[in-house]
Point group: D2
Chain length 426, copies 4
């Protein structure tokens, strides 16, 4: 049984747990007996409606007491952000920083609220922020802004696909006008064409003002599609407002040479003394770890080269009311550490797809709005600064984790925090 097939056999035995294949197969089959009633969905958010849902569902009132705080009076504020509302989830918030950012839009010392349930996460980013600030802050830059929706048009033949394309690219100015009827904040800036056989993928690229903008570009793209269908000299057999080419909700290498949302970079120069004092290691050790880990990532078939962008980004997205599912697309990019000629460390991160806004989405909800205000980044005119803060935070996080891995402290930190938790709860 040497080999992977032996492991498969062991797994099967674990799953079956002594039952026969037949018994398990019966359990896996569709079962039309006693189908439960399924409530119609409801977009209304109120205590009354929530209590009805709890009642209808026949769920334990003790749980309701936990999730539907009897004292909460702000429930209607969640309307438009949730359906079938039954209560509120609470996530602990920790504060990292102040982090000094020297950016095009962000400038100053930012205290950064992070929402997470993972031990050591805030501590690790806080350590990174402290180091960056001690160095006079990190530089952070918006490199490009563009969010895409990519409708697809299916024709009978590639010839028709091309004829359509010839027409479509000539309509660009008209498409811009059409977009203008759906949004005053979003602008259509380009359209890329990808033809595959009789498929045409039109990758419409927009700027979205201070909103993250997914809904804005969906509505704009639908309006363009409607215009196209009404006016095209070559009718498609089918068309779709989104073709999965835009990279929505998933990491893609396409974003690396273009952009998805906001492309940002942050960088810092650290002296060997600072690396020693804050991270207990050396620039050379960190460069060596970086190099080894770059290859580790490549060998496993990941996109980009980085450490743990997802950790800080998720915590900051949550705290500030961003769409946390966008972590799947945003938490990718490149981290790079280099020893400088004078023996210090140059560290940089670049993320091609930061999806952030300071208006719309969850940014207006009570606690999320408070977190944005705490940073001085609530409302219009602040989205670029928030993106630059993201970049700076993640640079701090990469320094902290790679510092710990280089110094051999990574597992130790986790052991310690696990112990603390046990003590704390005792």
């Amino acid at each position: 049984m040497t080999g992977k097939h032996g492991l498969t056999q062991q797994h099967v035995a674990r799953i079956l747990g002594g039952e026969s294949l037949e018994t398990v197969a019966r359990r896996l089959a569709p079962d039309l007996e006693n189908l439960p009633a399924i409530p119609a969905g409801s977009a209304k958010v109120s205590r009354e409606r929530a209590e009805e849902l709890w009642q209808e569902a026949g769920l334990d009132p003790a749980l309701r007491a936990v999730l539907l705080d009897p004292a909460a009076d702000e429930l209607p504020l969640y309307q438009g952000n949730i359906e079938n509302f039954i209560g509120l989830l609470k996530l602990p918030l920790g504060l990292a920083g102040p982090l000094r950012i020297n950016g095009t839009a962000a400038k100053g010392d930012y205290r950064i609220p992070l929402a997470t349930t993972e031990a050591a996460l805030v501590a690790s980013y806080h350590r990174g922020c402290r180091l960056l600030t001690a160095a006079g802050g990190c530089t952070a830059l918006i490199l490009y802004e563009s969010l895409s929706r990519a409708p697809a048009f299916v024709f009978r033949t590639a010839t028709e696909a091309c004829s359509f394309t010839v027409w479509a690219v000539e309509q660009f100015a008209i498409f811009q006008e059409v977009v203008g009827t759906t949004t005053s904040h979003g602008k259509l800036i380009d359209v890329g064409v990808t033809i595959e056989g009789n498929h045409v993928y039109l990758n419409f690229e927009f700027t979205t003002g201070d909103a993250s903008g997914q809904n804005m570009v969906t509505i704009a793209a639908q309006a363009i599609c409607d215009h196209i269908i009404a006016h095209t000299p070559v009718a498609p057999q089918r068309h779709y407002v989104e073709s999965n080419l835009s990279g929505d909700k998933k990491a893609s290498t396409k974003a690396f040479t273009t952009t998805r949302g906001k492309k940002v970079t942050a960088e810092v120069f650290l002296t060997a003394e600072m690396v020693k004092k804050h991270l207990h290691t050396t620039p050379r050790a960190m460069e060596q770890y970086w190099q080894m880990s770059a290859i580790g990532g490549v060998l496993s078939g990941t996109l980009g080269i980085h450490g743990h962008f997802a950790n800080g980004l998720t915590a900051l997205y949550l705290a500030t009311g961003q769409d946390a599912a966008c972590v799947a697309e945003s938490a990718t990019g490149v981290t790079r550490f280099e020893v400088t000629d004078d023996g210090g460390l140059y560290a940089t991160v670049t993320l091609p797809g930061i999806m952030v806004g300071t208006v719309g989405g969850g940014t207006g909800l009570p606690t999320q709005r408070a977190c944005l205000e705490l940073m001085g980044l609530a409302g219009a005119g602040k989205a670029r600064a928030l993106a630059e803060v993201c970049a700076g935070l993640l640079l701090g996080g990469e320094l902290s984790i790679i510092g710990a891995l280089s110094a051999g402290h990574f597992a130790r930190a986790h052991r310690k925090l696990a112990r603390d938790r046990n003590k704390g709860n005792a």
Copy 2:
């Protein structure tokens, strides 16, 4: 200016906003003036400590009132899950389902709490759940379980790397004993070897019981590393407990042929009538969309083929106290839709890296624990069932979104919910 370089020029003009390059460059430079004091981090979670942090930070007390609810008495329960605690973030919870799951571990009708701030998300998953349940439920299966930590060992030469490997693979039974001293829940089941020049990456694979297990395998891998360093006949120049080969916190294609956490699949057969009734489209239209979108994904350089796994997975991870940052690694896999010989629809999802636990992490926090209890999935013995529920939920979500995109309703739903929000808040 035809071409991308013209867009770059326009972007630059937007960013500079009339300022000179020199002015902006000065703003971007490190600034050592008036460095802020940075508080030492604190793992202690209490109202008193939080209020001290607010004070020290000099933040607006009005914000404190929003984030640090004066009535909340459960604050110490968060100790061990957060550092530099300053308050609680609130996310609205919506209920999808009941979703009937016919699984190896999950069996029955599950009401699924989803935490999100994104309009339409719960409604869309609820619609998918309703359809699956009407079909007698979906089948869901744990296909494999394995979580890896991948230490790296750097030698002087590839020859030494190979000599080390020869020794290391012979120690497997001893490594299992070493792991046994660190955890009673985790088991070492295999080790894969990847040599690159003088680098050796040892991919240790574990089962982790009912915990998600990242910390467990980190501590176990550290113990193996300590044992290796104490006993190896060939000393490495450097070693690291994690090499970035494990796929931790990022999607990788390696996971597709192995596993990361729990590999799960779910499937359902739907009649054309059910597709018509619930999704207002046809099996053929959905198959056609699937096919077009599979190519869209491939062309953009994503991993796997799917629609929007990240949406439902993030919302369920959050509600149940999982590490939401793991969405970056978990929200990948394969969705497949096929017309069956009798004109119905076969729909299936497979995810190679579900990172879920029902003990540890955030699963014991008050609202998260309540959500798990609401599903009947709290505590030991429930992790496999939770993984199968994830698979079923995501199958429902893929049916719902691809149904909407096939029927041309996708943008309409977003427009409507956006309008509702405006009304609701008015």
Copy 3:
């Protein structure tokens, strides 16, 4: 020993073959004893120079007789295409087709010479060509043309990188003039900017006339670099004429949404009767195979979705004097098979990176030139047609292999040809 580590042990035992690790390690060490003399390289191609090389190398004259045909009088014609010339390799040529192509540049019935040593390859492509021609030929289209060189510029800071970029994109018209001094065939059509920290990657995009163009764009990019270094207001610390971002000699997903060389597509509609007659299977069976294999490819982490582009492309590149190493970058893209509403088969291939020319490189060598002339595609004005022929040939090859795999004939064909070989050689 269940698991992969057991296989590693078995491999090690095979490699050691009974010798000790120490013995093998000694063999692997550098050995400075008796270093051989190494001849200076020579670009001169003549029989005399070749014979000197044979002599100097002390190689078996019997081998020289095989490789350096005493009757060959065309040897000087190879000058400029080889160094350290010692003789000629012979590859058998087979003829596929005639293949009818209905293209923008290619139009008519093409006999296609294929150079390969692999049994069944020509037979398989010939079968595909016959089918396409019987259908009235395939449609083939050049979708885009662009070849890139991507110099990189390393600055001290990201700020300097951005300042440089602002200047560089404004120089586009001047860069076009600079390119004009190096080539009359190549045109600079755009430049894409990718900034990563303090790195700037400038992706210069060119059309290259009827040459494949790698050297042309290298020389043009060097001239641009020289101009930049002489004129930039922000001096880079280092710069390189190629940064590995262009995709030269390796497949990249970047090419899918842009292009590398020539982007081509080909398509055909086949009736069920034709599929039955030529491939002994059905459109539905082929669609089903396609779908399953698309997922197989995705699961293994390949780029694109296709069957065996590399086979036909290598054979045609070799026969026509293309750079066969470009197969590594060109043999990727998308194959798609669909059942049409009337029960027939729609089949299409799209390749984003065909690297072909009809002038330059190996296209002027005697046998390669003869192959191009045999197709009517030698010399200026023919490169686009050759690219369209490539697309058509590969469409035929995909139909043939997927037909064989769908019908269960794939292994049988290989068994038969292997038997024939034995008989033929007996």
Copy 4:
């Protein structure tokens, strides 16, 4: 027209060349007029049969004289390697080396024949070989051997897929026996299971002796499939001998953590003096280039990190009768350059998928056999040594090109050789 859409318009204008869309569309349509006769294929290789083909095809006799050398008497030797034989293609051969290899199987000084039509290729590899040999040779190692065929089995349900898998993995010893009836050289060593919904992909892994082995494993996998279909307790709806999961003829990241064919590594240590003397640059400059280019590759979405593996590998595959189409899968992996503590350079390459054999395929053809003999690597018992020579050669090639790019000599070399060509031909 700023943006990509403007470029699309320019491209369209170029392609149309003044003709109307309608005219071009007519040219692209299938055309059933005057269909050419298509000759039946023929596996017979002889001068007579070839002359018949030339006649039937009505091709220019002058071309026949070039391709079908009247003096060639070895034509029947090509039978079994080609169909529809019409002549011989000639490629110039250049000699690189001697290259000293210190390997497990290769040991000594190898003169390496390279078949290419690309100027500067042999010169560049020769330069790399000279440097390696001057350093006492490079170390080269076979890290693993495994070639896969991956049949797929499609069931009605995932439940059936799993039941089948339970049975199949228990048959491993029987599968080994079945394989034994088809080959005495190949051994089945493992089978990996990948389930996706109702699909089962069985990745059978073999060693293949001294053959490259693609046909061997195809025939063996077909025999296993036949056995499975005859004996499985759970019948699949469809099955295929190859599912596109094996990585055949395309690069995949799966190969990085497993292997495809032979996984090899090579390494060398060079002093700063040697780098200076041979490459006119410094270890630090080469490390810096490597680092920048690693990121360039990642940003463009390539697999692995390397420079130009395809160049040398194609030339050596061709010269030694390998399947040159395998370059698409083999020319990937990792190159790594590091400055050592004493200021020298550590350079290494690792390729996970070298597809080489010294028996079978094209290895027995006259000129290919001569090239193998010239290296001392013809026939049984030599395949591992050939794989190690490949690794060493590619290490030399990476040193040479990265040396040139670091020193700024890359374009200069191409300019010079282009000039030489013109002179040489004059």
